[in-house]
Amino acid sequence: MAVKVLYFAWVRERVGKTEETVEPPEGVTTVGALMDWLAGRDEAYAHAFESRKTIRAAIDRTHVKPDTAIAGAREIAFFPPMTGG
């Protein structure tokens, strides 16, 4: 399944790109599993996802938890806790 992945703030800086389309293997079915898979790609991703419990995710612009299924997602975003307002 090809899916668009977006990165923001220090996740973006560590990964080194704002977005990309990735094709995780079939066994990667949840947001958390996708983070594990991304972290294994290279050192930059490993650094970006090293404190995985801190990173928040959104599917199609709605906050989701790590155990949320990614099936059907058009856009998955990873970012640090928000600091707006």
């Binding site: 923001f8 970012f79 928000m82 600091t83 707006g84 307002g85």
Partner: protein
């Protein structure tokens, strides 16, 4: 409801006028304005850059405004959040709530600010006074605590 994410400054008075002009049923208007400060936790800040998730920022704030409108008898709500590079004294965020009575307007404005702080996809990066980056602002526990108070135990407004 009006929700805008923009680089430009905003005019609080014009936003309030847009909500109240010609109406005689509004008895209470609360505005919250957030400004960029020249120091954060004792560390001098020359400027900050606000990054956001375009599309999600509008959607997420819109969901919280809809929730506020469901909880309190509001007559109009405006939320504006800026992004880009801001210097101390610059406006960052505006929340305007209107209602017939003050309790609803106050509570809805506080509610919206608490969720803007913790749920709206914005991230602040500060620059130190020497022009070097002082890094990303960390999320604060007390902001999560402030947001959590609206969740328990019922969704009814406080008296």
């Amino acid at each position: 409801m009006t929700v805008r994410i923009q680089r430009e400054p905003f005019d609080t008075a014009a936003e309030v006028a847009a909500l109240t002009r010609g109406r005689t049923d509004i008895g209470a208007v609360v505005t919250f304005t957030g400004l960029c400060r020249g120091a954060d936790d004792g560390r001098a800040v020359a400027a900050m850059t606000l990054e956001h998730y375009p599309g999600m920022a509008e959607a997420e704030i819109g969901r919280w405004v809809a929730e506020a409108e469901a909880r309190w008898p509001l007559m109009g709500v405006t939320v504006i959040h800026r992004y880009g590079r801001l210097e101390p004294g610059d406006l960052i965020v505006l929340v305007v709530t209107t209602s017939s009575h003050r309790a609803a307007a106050f509570e809805a404005a506080e509610f919206l600010m608490d969720f803007l702080k913790t749920e709206a996809p914005f991230w602040k990066k500060e620059e130190g006074l020497d022009g070097t980056s002082a890094g990303w602002v960390e999320a604060k526990d007390h902001d999560d605590t402030a947001a959590a108070r609206w969740k328990a135990p019922a969704s009814a407004p406080k008296v």
